[in-house]
Amino acid sequence: MTTVSGQVTVGGTVIPVTAQVTLPSSSYAWVTTATSGQKDFPYAKITGVASTPWIGPNVWSGGPTYKQTLYANSPGDWYVSVSANTNFGGVAAYPNSGWNQGKAVDAYHSIVTSWSVSIPADSTKVAGWAGYDLWFNNWADEVMILVDITAPSQYNSTAVATATFGGMPWHLLVFGSERVWKPGTDDQHLISRATGSLDVQPFLTWMEQHGYLPAASTWTAGSFGFEVCDTHAVTQEFRVRDFAWAAAA
């Protein structure tokens, strides 16, 4: 039995109440409201990496109004239920599945990856996106590749470069040591996709060639997840339905 607790306020008097419910055993291997930590999830569709993949909640901001529950079965089957109230503030969390990568960028022929996600669509109330967070040179250089974005216009920035990968236009934004690729020619013309695939290697080769990533960079780690900024205090779901990563050296 699980207790449901609530309270009623009647004319200034608070009356606590409870009820009981019998919930089915969780269909998720890991359910947590923790803000940090991680759990290993061996996963056959992440290959060519240097560690067992893991999943973690990774909440670092948002204040007491940020509430997140992570439900995880595998890097291809997990989601977070989030309520945040930050008045369209900065990124409060990056729940993700991650792994160590560990070879020189130039050692790979291709890194083909695919995703299927669902995120809330109402950009008047939600700022959050799905994407890859890739680290290089012992955590010195960060590259994000965003694939599905819900955000109001105040999150727009000016691109420093554009390029075409896999027949699709992308634009690059730079925030200090963080480089962020977004789909489309600029932030006013995003091409968000809930499902898709791409080859990461051409992004990195192009960045090395154009000075946005040091030449002969070495991979440190990769991850895929959701950066969540705000949901206007409404509980929303950011879900991974499928995921694959095949690094071919």
Partner: protein, 92 residues
């Protein structure tokens, strides 16, 4: 009569994907009973005072305002509905 409250959750044993409904109910927060009052007056007719009166029933005190907290439960995330007494959650 003391004011009390209850919380009811249905279904009591939901399956995965089911919607659970939590409903608050408050007992004893009724408007107070009406009270009778006498209104008196004097009419003067040709210098002679005539005492008159009538009775009215005044309304009782209104019910106290009520508010309901979003129910909390490990493993369920309740959200509000159009009815402020009622909250729902989907079982993951």
């Amino acid at each position: 009569m003391p004011v009390t409250a209850t919380l009811t959750v249905i279904p009591a044993a939901p399956a995965h994907g089911a919607t659970v409904t939590a409903t608050y109910a408050v007992q004893g927060n009724s408007p107070g009973p009406g009270s009778s009052a006498t209104i008196s007056g004097i009419a003067t007719v040709g210098g002679q005072d005539i005492q008159v009166s009538t009775t009215v029933t005044l309304p009782g005190a209104p019910a106290l305002p009520e508010s309901y907290q979003v129910p909390a439960c490990q493993g369920l995330t309740f959200t509000a509905t159009a009815d402020p007494h009622v909250f729902t959650a989907v079982v993951p």
